[in-house]
C-alpha cells in the first residue's frame, strides 16, 4: 500500500468531520454548521486546485502559467491579510509587496541555486507553502507594531520631541513586533521532528517516498519558510513605519482592533 487515497477513502474520512461536529453538538458549541461548511468548502477548493494543478503540470503547459498562479496567490493572500487586520491602514498592498519580495528572494535561492529543479510541480507548491506559512506572521507583525505605537504613543512622541526621526523613534517598537512575529516560526523550526512531523514530509512518506529523501525536502521547506517569514515581516514593518508616520515625522492617529 502506497498511501494513495481513493474516492472511497475520502468519503470514509468524512466520518472524522462527523466526529468534530458531534463534539460541537455534545458540548453545545453551536459550531456544527461552521464545521460542515468549512469542511465542504475546503474539499471543493482542494478539488478545484487539484484540477488546475493537473492542467499546470501537464507536459506541454508553459511555466508562465505557474508564475501567473503564484501572482494570483500573492494577490489573494494580500487581501486575506488586509481583512484579518482591518485596523492596520492600507495593509493589503504592503502585504502583496512583502510576499512578492519574499518570493523573489526565497524562490531565487531555491531555484537559482538549483536546490530544486525549476518545474511547475516544484515551483507552485513551494511558493504556496512559503506564502501560506508567512501569512500569520504578516498579520501578527502588523498588528503588534500598530498596538505598540498606539499604546506607547507618549513614549514615541517623547522620542520624536528629542529630535529623533520617525524611523529612529520607531526602531524599538519595530524590534518588539519583529521578535513577536518571527519567534513562533523559530520555535516551530526547533520542534520539528521532535514534537510534530510537518505536512510536506508526512505527505511524501504517505506517498511512498523514502523517509530520508522526505526529510531532506522538509528541511529545505523549513528553511525556506523561515527566510520567507523573516523577509515578509521586515518588509511589512518597514513599509508600515512609512505609513504610520507623516513625512514631517509625526505619528498618525491609530485605531484599535475591535474584532
Amino acid at each position: 500500500m502506497t498511501g494513495v487515497v481513493g474516492w472511497g477513502g475520502l468519503a470514509t474520512s468524512l466520518a472524522l468531520v462527523v466526529v468534530a461536529a458531534g463534539v460541537s453538538l455534545w458540548q453545545r458549541l453551536g459550531l456544527e454548521r461552521q464545521i460542515l461548511w468549512a469542511s465542504a468548502r475546503a474539499l471543493v477548493q482542494l478539488l478545484l486546485v487539484g484540477g488546475l494543478l493537473a492542467l499546470l503540470l501537464a507536459p506541454n503547459t508553459s511555466l508562465w502559467w505557474s508564475w501567473a498562479w503564484i501572482a494570483v496567490m500573492i494577490a489573494y493572500s494580500g487581501d486575506v491579510v488586509r481583512r484579518r487586520a482591518p485596523e492596520v491602514p492600507r495593509l493589503g498592498p504592503l502585504a502583496v509587496a512583502a510576499f512578492a519580495a519574499a518570493a523573489l528572494i526565497t524562490l531565487g535561492v531555491v531555484f537559482g541555486l538549483r536546490i530544486f529543479p525549476l518545474q511547475a510541480r516544484t515551483v507552485v507548491p513551494i511558493a504556496g507553502m512559503m506564502i501560506g506559512n508567512s501569512m500569520t506572521a504578516t498579520v501578527l507583525v502588523a498588528r503588534r507594531l500598530v498596538d505598540e505605537l498606539r499604546d506607547k504613543r507618549d513614549e514615541v512622541e517623547a522620542r520624536l520631541a528629542l529630535g529623533q526621526s520617525s524611523r529612529q523613534a520607531a526602531t524599538p517598537y519595530v524590534r518588539v513586533a519583529l521578535r513577536s512575529a518571527v519567534t513562533p516560526q523559530i520555535e516551530t523550526t526547533k520542534a520539528t521532528g521532535l514534537v510534530f512531523l510537518p505536512g510536506a514530509m508526512t505527505g511524501l512518506i504517505l506517498a511512498g517516498v523514502a523517509p530520508v529523501q522526505a526529510v531532506l525536502v522538509q528541511a529545505v521547506v523549513m528553511f525556506l519558510i523561515l527566510a520567507a517569514v523573516a523577509t515578509t515581516t521586515v518588509v511589512v514593518v518597514l513599509g508600515l513605519v512609512r505609513r504610520l508616520f507623516t513625512a514631517d515625522h509625526r505619528l498618525t492617529t491609530l485605531s484599535r482592533h475591535t474584532g
Binding site: 513614549e155 512622541e157 517623547a158 522620542r159 509625526r250
Partner: protein, 228 residues
C-alpha cells in the same frame, strides 16, 4: 510684531475630525522667562504646545517660531531647538544613562551628570533602571533628558500633574533657575497657585482661543499685569 516674539499664533485652527481643538487661536509668546499657558482641561493648552514642537500641525492659520513659519522649518532641527517634556513621565527601557544617550548619543559621563544635577538628581544615578524610578524622579529624569539636547526653548505640558508635591516644587525651582539663566519656558498648567508661583507671563486659553494674557501681576501693583 511677531519678529521679536518666541512664538506667534495667527488665527490658528486645529480640527480633529470635526472637533475644534483650537478655534481661531491668536497669541504671542514672549522671548524670555516662564510663560504659563493657563486654562481648564480640554481648552486647547496641550494642542497649542504640540504645535510649537510640530508634533501636531494647524489645519488653518500659522505658527511662527522666532518669526519663521514652523511648517517651513526642518521638524527635526526645530525639535532639537524646542525641547518638550510630556505630562506623564516617559522613561525609555534601560538605565538613566541609556535614556540620556537617546537624546544625545555623544554625551560623556560628566555631561550626563551635569544634566541630572540641573534637575536636582544625583549624578551617580546614571546606572539606575529608568523604569524603576518613582513618578517624580522619572519626570525629573525626563526633564534632564530634554535639557541635555541644550534646547533654546523648553515646552512643559503639565509636568507636575502626575508627581507629588515635593517633586513638583523641585521641578518648579529647577525650571525657575533655568529660566533665570535665559532659557525661555512655556509651561502648561491648570493650577492657578502654581501659575502664580512660577510664571512671568500668562496666556489664558479657553474653548480653543486665547482669552487674555500679559505679564503676571504679583505684589507690585505698578506692574500693570494680569492678576490671578
Amino acid at each position: 510684531m511677531s519678529g521679536g516674539a518666541l512664538f506667534a499664533f495667527e488665527d490658528v485652527v486645529v480640527d480633529r475630525d470635526g472637533v475644534l481643538a483650537l478655534n481661531g487661536f491668536t497669541a504671542v509668546v514672549p522671548n524670555t522667562g516662564i510663560t504659563a499657558v493657563f486654562g481648564p482641561s480640554g481648552s486647547g493648552k496641550s494642542t497649542m504646545l504640540r504645535l510649537c514642537d510640530r508634533l501636531e500641525v494647524a489645519t488653518a492659520g500659522r505658527v511662527l517660531y522666532r518669526g519663521l513659519d514652523v511648517t517651513e522649518l526642518d521638524p527635526l532641527q526645530l525639535r532639537r531647538q524646542v525641547g518638550m517634556c510630556m505630562q506623564r513621565p516617559t522613561p525609555f527601557p534601560g538605565t538613566v544613562a541609556d535614556n540620556l544617550l537617546v537624546a544625545d548619543p555623544q554625551a560623556d559621563e560628566s555631561k550626563m551628570q551635569e544634566a541630572l544635577e540641573q534637575v536636582s538628581l544625583q549624578g551617580s544615578w546614571l546606572d539606575r533602571d529608568a523604569t524603576a524610578l518613582s513618578g517624580g524622579e522619572a519626570q525629573r529624569m525626563c526633564l534632564a533628558r530634554t535639557l541635555i539636547t541644550q534646547p533654546d526653548v523648553l515646552l512643559l505640558d503639565e509636568p507636575t500633574s502626575a508627581v507629588d508635591v515635593t517633586a513638583a516644587r523641585t521641578i518648579e525651582s529647577a525650571v525657575r533657575e533655568l529660566a533665570d539663566a535665559s532659557l525661555a519656558v512655556l509651561w502648561v498648567s491648570h493650577d492657578p497657585a502654581q501659575v502664580h508661583r512660577i510664571a512671568d507671563h500668562i496666556l489664558e486659553v479657553d474653548h480653543g482661543r486665547c482669552v487674555g494674557g500679559g505679564p503676571i501681576m504679583r505684589d507690585d501693583p505698578r506692574s500693570g499685569g494680569v492678576g490671578l
